[in-house]
């Protein structure tokens, strides 16, 4: 009998939603395949799709259509925000220095590191044991002067929600651009930039049912960023290159759906997550829910299982038909200890033994039951293995 497959890795990526695919198809075919910069009818058809997507996305996020800059995804948007702000600051004689939280996605951390390698400086803002950015660290950074502060709305590994509205006010008062990586927040928690006075905001397509390879950076102050790639002047020169029209249209459709469904989605997956945590602790009583007492988004939970390692757990779960994640996977597929858990002060033996379960719209209680049914035996086997391999 084929085993039941369970996908609990929606924070990694999601399938393209049928509605999104439907919306994209005309822009791949003969009617609207054109270059949106072309003055002829083919170009106009493509342009119309791009502009409509911009309006949709702006409305959903609480921004203006002219502020939506499309990118190849979350990583590029984050790079544009961090490196672009640093370059712009240096250009006008400001600080060539960026401040990012210790638990940012690698897209932000590596971009900050790139600034340092270009001769600038990176400040890593520490977090407390629940993964929240320590505000005295922010105060110090703002006092020194930085080109940009970047803090993610929802952490991708542990789901912790940062007080971005308050941090945005702090940055605004200091006259410093504030970037929010909203990749794991949008569609999961209520997101309105009317309430968050950030300068820049990243959203990614493939986390919400659009294809991979499309994302956007909301740029509310065009002087705050300088382009990091150069070309034909599209998108105000901030991110030139012929627009990925089908991707943009798909992103628009996905954003609209995610915004509309957010509240219902959050309620549903929060119940599933709570059930997973409750039942998991019942069968593995010494498991540790990371950031359990922090403010968390509804779709992610990070669980450390003492005496195991995530690499072996992931393999055994996959063979049982269950897909989840260790949080951060190396490009080879080998597992490294999570930098997020390390920054939170989680001991190494728990950091290397973490599993991230992340819910999407297709998950059901049956998925949780399948996982909980398989887990005790797997934990037992992996514990025996780890006891030998890590002694």
């Amino acid at each position: 009998m084929p085993k039941r497959l369970v996908y609990l890795d929606n924070a990694a990526t999601t399938p393209v939603r049928p509605e999104v695919l439907e919306a994209m198809l005309p822009y791949l075919g003969p009617d609207a395949f054109g270059n949106p910069s072309s003055p002829h009818r083919f170009g106009r058809a493509a342009r119309a799709g791009v502009e409509e997507a911009k309006r949709t996305i702006a409305a959903a996020l609480g921004a203006d259509p002219g502020q939506v800059i499309f990118t190849s995804g979350g990583t590029e948007a984050d790079n544009l925000a961090v490196i672009g702000c640093a370059l712009a600051a240096r250009e006008r004689g400001g600080p060539f220095r960026v401040a990012v939280s210790a638990i940012e996605h690698k897209a932000v951390l590596a971009a900050a590191h790139a600034v340092a390698r270009l001769g600038g400086e990176e400040i890593i803002l520490p977090v407390n044991g629940q993964g929240e950015v320590a505000e005295d660290g922010l105060s110090e950074a703002l006092a020194r002067g930085v080109a940009v502060v970047s803090v993610m709305w929802v952490n991708n590994e542990i789901g912790v929600v940062q007080p971005v509205a308050r941090l945005a006010v702090r940055c605004r008062e200091a006259g410093v651009p504030f970037h929010v990586d909203g990749v794991q927040a949008f569609g999961k928690v209520p997101v309105s930039l009317h309430d968050v006075a950030c300068t820049l905001f990243t959203v990614s397509g493939h986390k919400i049912g659009a294809p991979k390879g499309i994302g956007a950076l909301v740029v509310r102050d065009r002087h705050a960023v300088e382009a990091i790639i150069h070309g034909g002047g599209q998108q105000f020169g901030i991110r030139p290159g012929t627009e990925n029209v089908p991707g943009i249209v798909g992103l628009g459709a996905a954003v609209e759906l995610a915004a509309r469904e957010q509240a219902a989605f959050a309620a549903r997956v929060a119940a599933l997550r709570d059930e997973l945590e409750r039942r998991l602790l019942a069968v593995v009583p010494d498991a540790v829910i990371n950031a359990a007492h922090g403010r968390r988004a509804p779709h992610v939970t990070s669980v450390s299982i003492p005496g195991t390692d995530s690499e072996a757990l992931l393999m055994h779960l996959d063979l049982a038909g269950i897909a989840c994640s260790s949080g951060s996977a190396c490009s080879t597929g080998a597992v490294e200890p999570s930098h997020v858990l390390t920054a939170m002060g989680v001991p190494r033996e728990l950091g290397v033994a973490a599993l991230r379960f992340s819910f999407g719209k297709e998950n059901t209680l049956e998925d949780v039951e399948t996982l909980i049914g398989a887990l005790p035996k797997i934990v037992e086997k992996v514990r025996a293995l780890s006891a030998v391999l890590h002694r």
Binding site: M315, L319, L385
Partner: protein, 344 residues
């Protein structure tokens, strides 16, 4: 699955034979530090292994053994050169990593067998040379646990390299035409001295100048570190002698590299340490075939003494460049690998 053609074909043949196969690649050291691409052990190779597994319809995992490989294999490699010896890390890897640590994972997955792309043949709990005499890799396997042999599958051991490639082509595996890897996986560009320089202190005796001497004790020059030499080496030695000179001994305690004529390279006996048996242990007086270098012929010998983990052998004919740190693999007349040890 290293991402090379041999392990790819091994996996493919098992799938064809109806086994329930799980593919795995061992990550043995960090790939981040500009290790140039090579047929095995690089990131591209992991991708190739994954592609092959996907094509075969089997799962594939990357298992991290960096810590243990670093300790059991790389650290030993460095320590052996620092002692003036010439180690074979592939033997250590087989004994400690591939056929020990890796098996813990196999056990946890309830895998009855562990398969390998080695050119050797496991049959009824005994290990034999591979069928292709130019590819036979049994020499590197003397140190594995005897109990492992009973659950080893060696699908390419009974093939020639050409036949292995033919299978890969027939199945359309991406690794079919891949160049053979002959280097040590963690030694980029065959520059083992570079690895030693990274792991040893700058003033390590093994990398510091010392005298080049003859067996008679005459100092004939200086060398730049005895770890740069191995027994039988000719390259890098001064000229001006009546006949070609070779390294015949390394004396780490005095940093001396001893050179001599080709005749001085031949030995009539060999002592093995860390002896491991894959058959019933031999006793003094027993006849055996011993192979003291990869691709060297095995020569007849007789056990002189067995004591603890060491085995002393008298050789029926002189053997060239018996090198401490290399392996002595023991065979019977039927090409069965009986065991072996590290040349003392």
């Amino acid at each position: 699955m290293s991402g090379g053609v041999d392990s790819s074909v091994a996996a493919a043949l098992l799938v064809e034979a109806g086994y329930d196969v799980v593919g795995a690649t061992m990550k043995l050291f960090c790939y981040g530090d500009a290790v140039p691409d090579r047929p095995c052990c690089s990131l591209d190779s992991i991708t190739d292994a994954r592609l092959v597994a996907h094509k075969l319809g089997v799962p594939h995992y990357v298992l991290n053994f960096e810590d243990r490989f670093g300790r059991d294999v790389i650290a030993n490699f460095v320590a052996e050169y620092a002692r003036g010896r010439t180690p074979i890390p592939c033997v250590r890897c087989n004994s400690f990593t591939k056929f020990r640590d890796f098996l813990y994972h196999a056990d946890a997955l309830d895998c009855a067998y562990v398969a390998t792309g080695h050119y050797a043949i496991a049959r009824d709990g005994a290990l034999f040379r591979g069928r292709d005499p130019r590819k036979d890799q049994s020499y590197f396997l003397w140190g594995i646990d005897r109990g492992v042999v009973a659950r080893m599958l060696t699908p390419v051991g009974s093939l020639t390299k050409r036949e292995t490639r033919d299978v890969a082509r027939r199945l359309g595996l991406v690794t079919a035409e891949k160049v053979e890897s002959v280097e040590i996986c963690f030694v980029p560009d065959d520059d083992y001295v570079g690895v030693l320089e990274r792991h040893l202190p700058a003033d390590a005796p093994a990398l510091s100048p010392g005298p080049l001497v003859t067996a008679a004790g005459a100092v004939v020059g200086e060398h730049a570190g005895f770890a740069r030499y191995t027994i039988g080496q000719r390259r890098g030695l001064p000229g001006g002698f009546r006949e070609p000179m070779y390294v015949v001994a390394i004396r780490p305690e005095t940093r001396e590299v001893v050179i001599g004529s080709g005749d001085e390279l031949f030995g009539h006996n060999v002592t093995l340490a860390e002896v491991n048996w894959l058959a019933e242990p031999l006793a003094p007086g027993n006849a055996v075939l011993v192979q003291c270098r990869y691709r060297a012929p095995a020569v007849p010998g007789r056990v002189r003494a067995v004591e603890g983990g060491t085995l002393a052998l008298d050789l029926a004919q002189p053997v060239r460049a018996i090198t401490p740190g290399q392996s002595g693999a023991l065979y019977d007349g039927e090409s069965r690998l009986l065991g072996g040890g590290v040349i003392a």
